[in-house]
Protein backbone atom coordinates (compact mmCIF):
# COMPACT_ATOMS: atom_id res chain seq x y z
CA UNK A 1 0.00 0.00 0.00
CA UNK A 2 1.21 3.47 -0.77
CA UNK A 3 1.47 6.08 1.95
CA UNK A 4 -0.75 9.14 1.78
CA UNK A 5 2.24 11.41 1.33
CA UNK A 6 3.38 9.38 -1.66
CA UNK A 7 -0.08 9.53 -3.19
CA UNK A 8 -0.25 13.28 -2.77
CA UNK A 9 2.71 13.63 -5.09
CA UNK A 10 1.07 11.65 -7.88
CA UNK A 11 -0.76 13.19 -10.81
CA UNK A 12 -4.47 12.45 -11.20
CA UNK A 13 -3.81 10.02 -14.01
CA UNK A 14 -1.14 8.23 -11.99
CA UNK A 15 -3.50 8.06 -9.03
CA UNK A 16 -6.14 6.37 -11.14
CA UNK A 17 -3.53 3.96 -12.41
CA UNK A 18 -2.47 3.19 -8.86
CA UNK A 19 -6.10 2.66 -7.94
CA UNK A 20 -6.63 0.37 -10.91
CA UNK A 21 -3.58 -1.57 -9.82
CA UNK A 22 -5.25 -2.27 -6.51
CA UNK A 23 -4.10 0.45 -4.12
CA UNK A 24 -7.07 0.94 -1.77
CA UNK A 25 -6.00 4.49 -0.83
CA UNK A 26 -5.52 5.98 -4.26
CA UNK A 27 -9.13 6.64 -5.11
CA UNK A 28 -9.69 8.33 -1.77
CA UNK A 29 -6.88 10.72 -2.57
CA UNK A 30 -8.42 11.46 -5.97
CA UNK A 31 -11.76 12.07 -4.28
CA UNK A 32 -10.24 14.48 -1.75
CA UNK A 33 -8.49 16.34 -4.52
CA UNK A 34 -11.60 16.98 -6.63
CA UNK A 35 -14.50 16.84 -4.25
CA UNK A 36 -14.97 20.59 -3.67
CA UNK A 37 -15.02 21.46 -7.35
CA UNK A 38 -17.38 18.62 -8.16
CA UNK A 39 -19.52 19.51 -5.19
CA UNK A 40 -19.94 23.06 -6.49
CA UNK A 41 -20.92 21.89 -9.97
CA UNK A 42 -23.39 19.42 -8.51
CA UNK A 43 -24.99 21.96 -6.15
CA UNK A 44 -25.46 24.48 -8.93
CA UNK A 45 -26.66 21.88 -11.42
CA UNK A 46 -29.28 20.15 -9.29
CA UNK A 47 -30.11 23.28 -7.33
CA UNK A 48 -30.04 21.91 -3.80
CA UNK A 49 -27.50 20.42 -1.47
CA UNK A 50 -29.32 17.25 -0.51
CA UNK A 51 -29.62 16.04 -4.05
CA UNK A 52 -26.14 17.28 -4.87
CA UNK A 53 -24.76 15.11 -2.06
CA UNK A 54 -26.63 12.09 -3.42
CA UNK A 55 -25.53 12.79 -6.98
CA UNK A 56 -21.87 13.19 -6.01
CA UNK A 57 -22.07 9.97 -4.05
CA UNK A 58 -23.61 8.12 -6.99
CA UNK A 59 -20.92 9.56 -9.21
CA UNK A 60 -17.93 8.66 -7.06
CA UNK A 61 -19.16 5.14 -6.46
CA UNK A 62 -19.60 4.56 -10.17
CA UNK A 63 -16.24 6.20 -10.90
CA UNK A 64 -14.58 3.93 -8.38
CA UNK A 65 -16.22 0.85 -9.84
CA UNK A 66 -15.50 1.84 -13.42
CA UNK A 67 -11.82 2.27 -12.71
CA UNK A 68 -11.33 -0.78 -10.50
CA UNK A 69 -9.07 -3.53 -11.78
CA UNK A 70 -11.91 -6.00 -12.21
CA UNK A 71 -13.91 -3.66 -14.42
CA UNK A 72 -13.98 -4.66 -18.05
CA UNK A 73 -10.80 -3.63 -19.77
CA UNK A 74 -9.28 -2.51 -16.47
CA UNK A 75 -11.57 0.50 -16.47
CA UNK A 76 -11.10 3.79 -18.24
CA UNK A 77 -7.94 4.55 -16.30
CA UNK A 78 -5.78 3.03 -18.96
CA UNK A 79 -7.14 5.48 -21.49
CA UNK A 80 -6.21 8.63 -19.61
CA UNK A 81 -3.39 10.65 -20.99
CA UNK A 82 -3.34 13.48 -18.55
CA UNK A 83 -4.94 15.15 -15.60
CA UNK A 84 -7.34 17.23 -17.69
CA UNK A 85 -8.81 14.00 -19.05
CA UNK A 86 -9.34 12.74 -15.51
CA UNK A 87 -10.98 16.02 -14.52
CA UNK A 88 -13.27 15.86 -17.54
CA UNK A 89 -14.15 12.25 -16.81
CA UNK A 90 -15.00 12.98 -13.16
CA UNK A 91 -17.12 15.97 -14.16
CA UNK A 92 -18.92 13.90 -16.76
CA UNK A 93 -19.83 11.28 -14.20
CA UNK A 94 -21.00 13.87 -11.69
CA UNK A 95 -22.99 15.90 -14.21
CA UNK A 96 -24.60 12.75 -15.55
CA UNK A 97 -25.55 11.71 -12.03
CA UNK A 98 -27.10 15.16 -11.56
CA UNK A 99 -29.01 14.98 -14.84
CA UNK A 100 -30.25 11.49 -14.00
CA UNK A 101 -31.58 12.70 -10.69
CA UNK A 102 -33.25 15.75 -12.18
CA UNK A 103 -34.86 13.74 -14.95
CA UNK A 104 -36.13 11.25 -12.42
CA UNK A 105 -37.69 14.13 -10.58
CA UNK A 106 -39.97 14.19 -13.62
CA UNK A 107 -41.50 17.58 -13.03
CA UNK A 108 -39.32 20.56 -13.62
CA UNK A 109 -39.98 23.70 -11.64
CA UNK A 110 -40.66 25.70 -14.80
CA UNK A 111 -42.82 23.16 -16.52
CA UNK A 112 -46.29 24.48 -15.95
CA UNK A 113 -48.48 21.76 -14.57
CA UNK A 114 -51.82 21.55 -16.32
CA UNK A 115 -53.60 22.91 -13.28
CA UNK A 116 -51.32 25.93 -13.09
CA UNK A 117 -51.38 26.76 -16.78
CA UNK A 118 -52.45 30.38 -17.14
CA UNK A 119 -56.01 30.61 -18.32
CA UNK A 120 -58.24 33.48 -19.08
CA UNK A 121 -59.56 34.90 -15.88
CA UNK A 122 -56.81 33.18 -13.90
CA UNK A 123 -53.88 35.08 -12.54
CA UNK A 124 -50.66 34.46 -14.38
CA UNK A 125 -48.21 33.10 -11.82
CA UNK A 126 -45.45 35.11 -13.46
CA UNK A 127 -47.42 38.30 -13.25
CA UNK A 128 -46.98 38.33 -9.49
CA UNK A 129 -43.24 38.07 -9.88
CA UNK A 130 -42.42 41.71 -9.54
CA UNK A 131 -38.87 41.44 -8.43
CA UNK A 132 -36.00 39.95 -10.32
CA UNK A 133 -35.10 36.44 -9.30
CA UNK A 134 -31.80 35.69 -7.75
CA UNK A 135 -29.58 34.33 -10.51
CA UNK A 136 -29.38 30.93 -8.81
CA UNK A 137 -33.13 30.73 -8.38
CA UNK A 138 -33.58 31.75 -12.00
CA UNK A 139 -31.13 29.09 -13.09
CA UNK A 140 -33.21 26.48 -11.28
CA UNK A 141 -36.15 27.22 -13.55
CA UNK A 142 -34.30 26.18 -16.70
CA UNK A 143 -34.50 22.79 -18.40
CA UNK A 144 -31.79 20.53 -17.06
CA UNK A 145 -29.69 20.43 -20.21
CA UNK A 146 -29.55 24.20 -20.45
CA UNK A 147 -28.75 24.48 -16.79
CA UNK A 148 -25.89 22.00 -17.00
CA UNK A 149 -24.39 23.82 -19.97
CA UNK A 150 -24.64 27.25 -18.31
CA UNK A 151 -23.21 25.96 -15.04
CA UNK A 152 -20.15 24.58 -16.79
CA UNK A 153 -19.53 27.32 -19.35
CA UNK A 154 -20.80 30.55 -17.81
CA UNK A 155 -20.51 29.79 -14.13
CA UNK A 156 -17.33 27.73 -13.93
CA UNK A 157 -15.58 28.93 -17.06
CA UNK A 158 -15.27 25.68 -19.00
CA UNK A 159 -14.52 26.06 -22.67
CA UNK A 160 -17.32 25.06 -25.01
CA UNK A 161 -15.17 22.19 -26.30
CA UNK A 162 -14.41 20.81 -22.83
CA UNK A 163 -18.01 21.25 -21.74
CA UNK A 164 -19.07 19.32 -24.84
CA UNK A 165 -16.91 16.43 -23.66
CA UNK A 166 -18.41 16.55 -20.20
CA UNK A 167 -21.94 16.70 -21.60
CA UNK A 168 -21.19 14.20 -24.34
CA UNK A 169 -22.59 16.32 -27.14
CA UNK A 170 -21.37 18.51 -29.99
CA UNK A 171 -19.84 21.91 -29.20
CA UNK A 172 -22.61 23.52 -31.25
CA UNK A 173 -25.17 21.92 -28.98
CA UNK A 174 -23.43 23.37 -25.93
CA UNK A 175 -23.51 26.82 -27.53
CA UNK A 176 -27.15 26.43 -28.42
CA UNK A 177 -28.10 25.29 -24.92
CA UNK A 178 -26.20 28.22 -23.43
CA UNK A 179 -27.86 30.71 -25.79
CA UNK A 180 -31.31 29.41 -25.08
CA UNK A 181 -30.66 29.30 -21.39
CA UNK A 182 -29.49 32.91 -21.37
CA UNK A 183 -32.48 34.02 -23.42
CA UNK A 184 -34.69 32.35 -20.86
CA UNK A 185 -32.84 33.76 -17.88
CA UNK A 186 -32.84 37.38 -18.97
CA UNK A 187 -36.50 38.20 -18.32
CA UNK A 188 -36.28 36.50 -14.94
CA UNK A 189 -33.29 38.60 -13.94
CA UNK A 190 -34.88 41.94 -14.69
CA UNK A 191 -37.18 43.69 -12.30
CA UNK A 192 -39.32 45.08 -15.07
CA UNK A 193 -39.41 41.76 -16.91
CA UNK A 194 -37.50 43.35 -19.67
CA UNK A 195 -38.22 46.25 -21.86
CA UNK A 196 -39.54 44.08 -24.65
CA UNK A 197 -43.09 44.32 -23.38
CA UNK A 198 -45.33 45.57 -26.09
CA UNK A 199 -42.92 44.77 -28.86
CA UNK A 200 -44.30 42.69 -31.65
CA UNK A 201 -41.39 40.44 -31.81
CA UNK A 202 -41.92 36.74 -31.89
CA UNK A 203 -43.43 34.09 -34.08
CA UNK A 204 -45.49 32.05 -34.14
CA UNK A 205 -48.27 34.63 -34.53
CA UNK A 206 -50.68 32.49 -32.53
CA UNK A 207 -48.44 33.06 -29.53
CA UNK A 208 -47.90 36.75 -30.06
CA UNK A 209 -51.06 37.93 -28.35
CA UNK A 210 -50.41 35.75 -25.40
CA UNK A 211 -46.90 37.07 -25.17
CA UNK A 212 -48.13 40.61 -25.22
CA UNK A 213 -50.47 39.85 -22.37
CA UNK A 214 -47.68 38.18 -20.44
CA UNK A 215 -45.32 41.00 -21.05
CA UNK A 216 -42.58 39.04 -22.69
CA UNK A 217 -41.86 36.06 -24.84
CA UNK A 218 -41.37 33.59 -22.06
CA UNK A 219 -44.25 31.33 -22.88
CA UNK A 220 -43.48 30.75 -26.52
CA UNK A 221 -39.91 30.01 -25.69
CA UNK A 222 -40.98 27.57 -23.04
CA UNK A 223 -43.22 25.74 -25.43
CA UNK A 224 -40.53 25.72 -28.04
CA UNK A 225 -38.25 23.78 -25.69
CA UNK A 226 -37.72 20.18 -26.34
CA UNK A 227 -35.59 18.71 -29.08
CA UNK A 228 -32.11 19.81 -29.88
CA UNK A 229 -32.29 23.33 -31.15
CA UNK A 230 -31.05 23.72 -34.67
CA UNK A 231 -30.73 27.26 -35.79
Amino acid sequence: MTERSDLAALSDAALLGTHAAGDPQAFGELFRRHRDRLWAVAVRTVGNREEAADAVQDAFVSALRASSPTAAGAGPAAAFRGDSAVTTWLHRIVVNACLDRMRRRAVRPTDPLPETEPRSGMPDPFAALDLSLDVVAALDTLPVEQRAALVLVDMYGWSVEDAAQVLDCAPGTVKSRCARGRARLLPLLREDHGNRAGLAHVPPPSQADHDLVRGDARQDRATAEGGEPVP
Partner: protein
Amino acid sequence: MSTDHVHGPGVHPDLETLADLQEGLLPPTPAAAVSDHLDHCPVCRDDFAALGEIPGRLAGAADVGAMPDEVASRLDEVLAAEPRTASVTITPLATARRNRLTADNRVLQAAAAAVLVLAATGIGISAVQDRSDGGMATADRASAGDSDRGLAEGSVPVLSTGTDYTQATVVAAVPRLLAADGPKVLANPGAEAPTRASDSSATQYAARLSEGPALSDCIIALADDPDTPVVEMPTPLVVDVARFDGEAATVIVLPTADVADRLDVYVVGPDCGPADAKVLHFARVPRP
Protein backbone atom coordinates in the same frame (compact mmCIF):
# COMPACT_ATOMS: atom_id res chain seq x y z
CA MET B 1 -35.86 28.59 -36.54
CA SER B 2 -37.63 30.97 -38.83
CA THR B 3 -35.95 34.29 -39.20
CA ASP B 4 -38.64 36.01 -41.23
CA HIS B 5 -39.72 37.97 -38.21
CA VAL B 6 -36.50 39.91 -38.10
CA HIS B 7 -37.51 41.78 -41.20
CA GLY B 8 -39.90 44.64 -41.47
CA PRO B 9 -40.67 47.71 -39.39
CA GLY B 10 -41.76 47.21 -35.80
CA VAL B 11 -40.81 43.54 -35.68
CA HIS B 12 -38.02 42.63 -33.33
CA PRO B 13 -35.93 39.50 -33.05
CA ASP B 14 -36.75 37.46 -29.98
CA LEU B 15 -34.27 36.93 -27.17
CA GLU B 16 -33.32 33.50 -28.45
CA THR B 17 -32.37 34.95 -31.79
CA LEU B 18 -30.29 37.60 -30.12
CA ALA B 19 -28.61 34.98 -27.92
CA ASP B 20 -27.98 32.79 -30.96
CA LEU B 21 -26.40 35.74 -32.73
CA GLN B 22 -24.17 36.29 -29.74
CA GLU B 23 -23.02 32.67 -29.85
CA GLY B 24 -22.43 32.82 -33.59
CA LEU B 25 -25.17 30.30 -34.23
CA LEU B 26 -27.14 32.20 -36.87
CA PRO B 27 -26.50 31.57 -40.56
CA PRO B 28 -24.89 34.54 -42.34
CA THR B 29 -27.99 36.05 -43.90
CA PRO B 30 -30.21 36.19 -40.82
CA ALA B 31 -27.19 37.18 -38.76
CA ALA B 32 -26.66 40.18 -41.01
CA ALA B 33 -30.34 41.08 -40.81
CA VAL B 34 -30.38 40.93 -37.01
CA SER B 35 -27.18 42.95 -36.83
CA ASP B 36 -28.78 45.57 -39.04
CA HIS B 37 -31.76 45.64 -36.75
CA LEU B 38 -29.53 46.12 -33.73
CA ASP B 39 -27.90 49.07 -35.41
CA HIS B 40 -31.08 51.05 -35.34
CA CYS B 41 -33.05 49.54 -32.43
CA PRO B 42 -31.90 50.67 -28.96
CA VAL B 43 -34.34 48.32 -27.22
CA CYS B 44 -32.88 45.24 -28.85
CA ARG B 45 -29.41 46.63 -28.37
CA ASP B 46 -30.05 46.82 -24.63
CA ASP B 47 -31.29 43.27 -24.62
CA PHE B 48 -28.28 42.13 -26.57
CA ALA B 49 -25.99 43.78 -24.04
CA ALA B 50 -27.95 42.33 -21.13
CA LEU B 51 -27.62 38.84 -22.59
CA GLY B 52 -23.88 39.38 -22.73
CA GLU B 53 -23.83 40.16 -19.02
CA ILE B 54 -25.44 36.90 -17.99
CA PRO B 55 -22.24 34.81 -18.00
CA GLY B 56 -20.69 37.28 -15.58
CA ARG B 57 -23.70 37.18 -13.30
CA LEU B 58 -23.60 33.38 -13.28
CA ALA B 59 -19.87 33.37 -12.60
CA GLY B 60 -20.54 35.64 -9.65
CA ALA B 61 -22.68 32.90 -8.12
CA ALA B 62 -20.10 30.16 -8.59
CA ASP B 63 -18.93 29.93 -4.99
CA VAL B 64 -20.86 27.38 -2.96
CA GLY B 65 -18.13 26.74 -0.41
CA ALA B 66 -16.29 23.51 0.23
CA MET B 67 -18.10 20.20 0.40
CA PRO B 68 -19.57 20.06 3.93
CA ASP B 69 -17.72 17.78 6.32
CA GLU B 70 -20.72 15.55 6.90
CA VAL B 71 -21.16 14.99 3.16
CA ALA B 72 -17.45 14.32 2.69
CA SER B 73 -17.22 11.87 5.57
CA ARG B 74 -20.34 10.02 4.49
CA LEU B 75 -18.84 9.68 1.04
CA ASP B 76 -15.56 8.49 2.51
CA GLU B 77 -17.47 5.76 4.32
CA VAL B 78 -19.39 4.75 1.22
CA LEU B 79 -16.23 4.57 -0.85
CA ALA B 80 -14.46 2.58 1.87
CA ALA B 81 -17.33 0.08 1.91
CA GLU B 82 -17.01 -0.64 -1.80
CA PRO B 83 -15.48 -4.04 -2.52
CA ARG B 84 -11.79 -3.52 -2.73
CA THR B 85 -9.91 -5.24 -5.43
CA ALA B 86 -6.30 -6.07 -5.70
CA SER B 87 -4.41 -7.25 -8.68
CA VAL B 88 -2.78 -10.61 -8.37
CA THR B 89 0.10 -11.49 -10.58
CA ILE B 90 0.73 -15.13 -11.25
CA THR B 91 4.27 -16.27 -11.30
CA PRO B 92 5.53 -19.79 -11.64
CA LEU B 93 5.97 -21.59 -8.40
CA ALA B 94 9.63 -22.43 -8.85
CA THR B 95 11.64 -21.97 -5.69
CA ALA B 96 8.69 -21.54 -3.41
CA ARG B 97 7.31 -24.88 -4.47
CA ARG B 98 10.59 -26.70 -4.05
CA ASN B 99 11.04 -25.27 -0.60
CA ARG B 100 7.58 -26.19 0.52
CA LEU B 101 6.64 -29.43 -1.04
CA THR B 102 8.05 -32.80 -0.17
CA ALA B 103 9.21 -35.08 -2.92
CA ASP B 104 6.46 -37.59 -2.23
CA ASN B 105 3.67 -35.09 -2.45
CA ARG B 106 1.13 -37.02 -4.41
CA VAL B 107 -1.31 -34.32 -5.33
CA LEU B 108 0.72 -31.55 -6.80
CA GLN B 109 1.75 -31.90 -10.36
CA ALA B 110 4.93 -29.94 -10.39
CA ALA B 111 4.62 -28.66 -13.92
CA ALA B 112 1.20 -27.19 -13.34
CA ALA B 113 1.87 -25.60 -10.02
CA ALA B 114 2.04 -21.88 -9.68
CA VAL B 115 2.37 -19.52 -6.84
CA LEU B 116 0.37 -16.37 -6.61
CA VAL B 117 2.21 -13.22 -5.93
CA LEU B 118 -0.02 -10.36 -5.08
CA ALA B 119 1.13 -7.18 -6.60
CA ALA B 120 -0.29 -3.94 -5.45
CA THR B 121 1.11 -0.51 -5.92
CA GLY B 122 4.10 -1.16 -8.03
CA ILE B 123 2.17 -2.69 -10.87
CA GLY B 124 1.44 -0.71 -13.98
CA ILE B 125 -1.82 -0.67 -15.84
CA SER B 126 -0.42 -2.90 -18.49
CA ALA B 127 0.10 -5.63 -15.96
CA VAL B 128 -3.56 -5.69 -15.06
CA GLN B 129 -4.76 -8.11 -17.63
CA ASP B 130 -8.07 -9.46 -18.63
CA ARG B 131 -9.06 -12.14 -16.21
CA SER B 132 -9.65 -14.54 -19.06
CA ASP B 133 -5.89 -14.68 -19.34
CA GLY B 134 -5.55 -15.66 -15.72
CA GLY B 135 -6.22 -19.30 -16.21
CA MET B 136 -4.19 -22.29 -15.28
CA ALA B 137 -0.48 -21.91 -15.25
CA THR B 138 0.79 -24.22 -17.90
CA ALA B 139 3.83 -26.41 -17.88
CA ASP B 140 5.42 -24.13 -20.44
CA ARG B 141 4.86 -21.10 -18.30
CA ALA B 142 6.16 -22.82 -15.21
CA SER B 143 9.36 -23.94 -16.80
CA ALA B 144 9.95 -20.87 -18.88
CA GLY B 145 9.66 -18.52 -15.92
CA ASP B 146 11.19 -20.84 -13.37
CA SER B 147 12.86 -18.23 -11.23
CA ASP B 148 11.25 -15.11 -12.57
CA ARG B 149 8.90 -14.09 -9.80
CA GLY B 150 8.07 -10.79 -11.47
CA LEU B 151 6.50 -12.34 -14.52
CA ALA B 152 2.94 -11.14 -14.87
CA GLU B 153 0.67 -13.71 -16.41
CA GLY B 154 -2.76 -12.76 -15.20
CA SER B 155 -4.75 -11.19 -12.46
CA VAL B 156 -7.24 -12.34 -9.91
CA PRO B 157 -9.69 -10.04 -8.19
CA VAL B 158 -9.47 -9.96 -4.42
CA LEU B 159 -12.68 -8.53 -3.00
CA SER B 160 -13.47 -7.65 0.56
CA THR B 161 -17.24 -7.54 0.70
CA GLY B 162 -17.40 -8.40 4.39
CA THR B 163 -20.48 -10.50 3.64
CA ASP B 164 -21.37 -12.98 6.39
CA TYR B 165 -21.90 -16.16 4.41
CA THR B 166 -23.48 -19.43 5.38
CA GLN B 167 -23.16 -22.79 3.65
CA ALA B 168 -26.19 -21.92 1.55
CA THR B 169 -25.41 -18.32 0.74
CA VAL B 170 -21.77 -18.79 -0.17
CA VAL B 171 -22.73 -21.12 -2.98
CA ALA B 172 -25.42 -18.77 -4.18
CA ALA B 173 -22.95 -15.89 -4.10
CA VAL B 174 -20.51 -17.46 -6.53
CA PRO B 175 -22.01 -15.99 -9.74
CA ARG B 176 -21.97 -12.44 -8.45
CA LEU B 177 -18.50 -12.83 -7.00
CA LEU B 178 -17.36 -13.91 -10.43
CA ALA B 179 -19.05 -10.89 -11.97
CA ALA B 180 -16.86 -8.94 -9.55
CA ASP B 181 -17.46 -5.57 -11.11
CA GLY B 182 -18.83 -4.41 -7.85
CA PRO B 183 -22.40 -3.29 -8.25
CA LYS B 184 -23.99 -6.66 -7.72
CA VAL B 185 -21.85 -7.50 -4.73
CA LEU B 186 -23.16 -4.84 -2.44
CA ALA B 187 -26.56 -4.72 -4.07
CA ASN B 188 -27.34 -8.27 -3.05
CA PRO B 189 -30.29 -7.94 -0.71
CA GLY B 190 -29.35 -11.15 1.05
CA ALA B 191 -25.91 -9.90 1.92
CA GLU B 192 -25.64 -8.56 5.41
CA ALA B 193 -24.23 -5.11 5.52
CA PRO B 194 -20.79 -5.31 7.05
CA THR B 195 -20.30 -3.59 10.33
CA ARG B 196 -17.64 -0.96 10.43
CA ALA B 197 -15.40 -3.14 12.52
CA SER B 198 -15.60 -6.16 10.28
CA ASP B 199 -15.37 -4.04 7.17
CA SER B 200 -12.28 -2.36 8.48
CA SER B 201 -10.60 -5.63 9.41
CA ALA B 202 -11.58 -7.15 6.08
CA THR B 203 -10.11 -4.20 4.28
CA GLN B 204 -6.95 -4.51 6.32
CA TYR B 205 -6.78 -8.19 5.55
CA ALA B 206 -7.29 -7.52 1.87
CA ALA B 207 -4.47 -5.02 2.10
CA ARG B 208 -2.32 -7.67 3.78
CA LEU B 209 -3.21 -10.09 1.00
CA SER B 210 -2.14 -7.52 -1.52
CA GLU B 211 1.16 -6.92 0.21
CA GLY B 212 2.44 -10.35 0.96
CA PRO B 213 2.38 -13.99 0.08
CA ALA B 214 -0.57 -14.74 2.37
CA LEU B 215 -2.85 -16.01 -0.37
CA SER B 216 -0.24 -18.09 -2.10
CA ASP B 217 0.75 -19.57 1.26
CA CYS B 218 -2.86 -20.47 1.84
CA ILE B 219 -3.35 -22.12 -1.51
CA ILE B 220 -0.14 -24.04 -1.19
CA ALA B 221 -1.29 -25.18 2.23
CA LEU B 222 -4.62 -26.28 0.80
CA ALA B 223 -2.77 -28.23 -1.87
CA ASP B 224 -0.59 -29.80 0.76
CA ASP B 225 -3.58 -31.06 2.69
CA PRO B 226 -4.27 -34.61 1.55
CA ASP B 227 -7.86 -34.32 2.80
CA THR B 228 -8.76 -31.68 0.27
CA PRO B 229 -9.59 -32.60 -3.27
CA VAL B 230 -6.99 -30.31 -4.81
CA VAL B 231 -5.01 -32.26 -7.34
CA GLU B 232 -3.11 -29.38 -8.79
CA MET B 233 -2.87 -25.77 -7.92
CA PRO B 234 -5.07 -23.67 -10.13
CA THR B 235 -5.46 -19.92 -10.31
CA PRO B 236 -8.31 -18.60 -8.19
CA LEU B 237 -11.08 -16.99 -10.21
CA VAL B 238 -11.98 -14.70 -7.36
CA VAL B 239 -11.18 -14.26 -3.68
CA ASP B 240 -13.51 -12.62 -1.21
CA VAL B 241 -12.36 -11.51 2.22
CA ALA B 242 -15.58 -11.97 4.14
CA ARG B 243 -17.15 -13.88 7.04
CA PHE B 244 -18.60 -17.32 7.44
CA ASP B 245 -21.14 -18.18 10.13
CA GLY B 246 -20.16 -14.98 11.90
CA GLU B 247 -16.42 -15.56 11.85
CA ALA B 248 -13.78 -13.91 9.69
CA ALA B 249 -13.17 -16.06 6.64
CA THR B 250 -11.87 -15.98 3.12
CA VAL B 251 -13.76 -17.43 0.17
CA ILE B 252 -11.57 -18.77 -2.62
CA VAL B 253 -13.17 -19.87 -5.87
CA LEU B 254 -11.02 -22.21 -7.96
CA PRO B 255 -11.65 -24.00 -11.22
CA THR B 256 -12.20 -27.68 -10.62
CA ALA B 257 -9.30 -29.67 -11.95
CA ASP B 258 -10.18 -31.53 -15.13
CA VAL B 259 -13.86 -30.60 -14.92
CA ALA B 260 -14.53 -27.62 -17.09
CA ASP B 261 -18.06 -26.89 -15.91
CA ARG B 262 -17.45 -27.04 -12.19
CA LEU B 263 -15.93 -24.69 -9.65
CA ASP B 264 -14.54 -25.47 -6.22
CA VAL B 265 -15.43 -23.06 -3.45
CA TYR B 266 -13.19 -23.06 -0.40
CA VAL B 267 -13.97 -21.16 2.75
CA VAL B 268 -10.90 -20.84 4.94
CA GLY B 269 -10.02 -18.96 8.08
CA PRO B 270 -8.25 -15.60 8.14
CA ASP B 271 -4.98 -17.26 9.12
CA CYS B 272 -5.01 -19.76 6.31
CA GLY B 273 -1.44 -20.72 5.60
CA PRO B 274 1.13 -23.39 6.36
CA ALA B 275 0.15 -23.45 10.03
CA ASP B 276 -3.60 -23.44 9.47
CA ALA B 277 -5.02 -25.03 6.37
CA LYS B 278 -8.37 -25.82 7.94
CA VAL B 279 -11.17 -25.68 5.40
CA LEU B 280 -14.29 -24.26 7.05
CA HIS B 281 -16.45 -25.24 4.11
CA PHE B 282 -16.01 -26.78 0.72
CA ALA B 283 -18.51 -26.94 -2.13
CA ARG B 284 -18.29 -27.94 -5.74
CA VAL B 285 -20.71 -25.93 -7.82
CA PRO B 286 -21.65 -25.65 -11.47
CA ARG B 287 -19.69 -22.97 -13.29
CA PRO B 288 -22.20 -20.19 -13.95
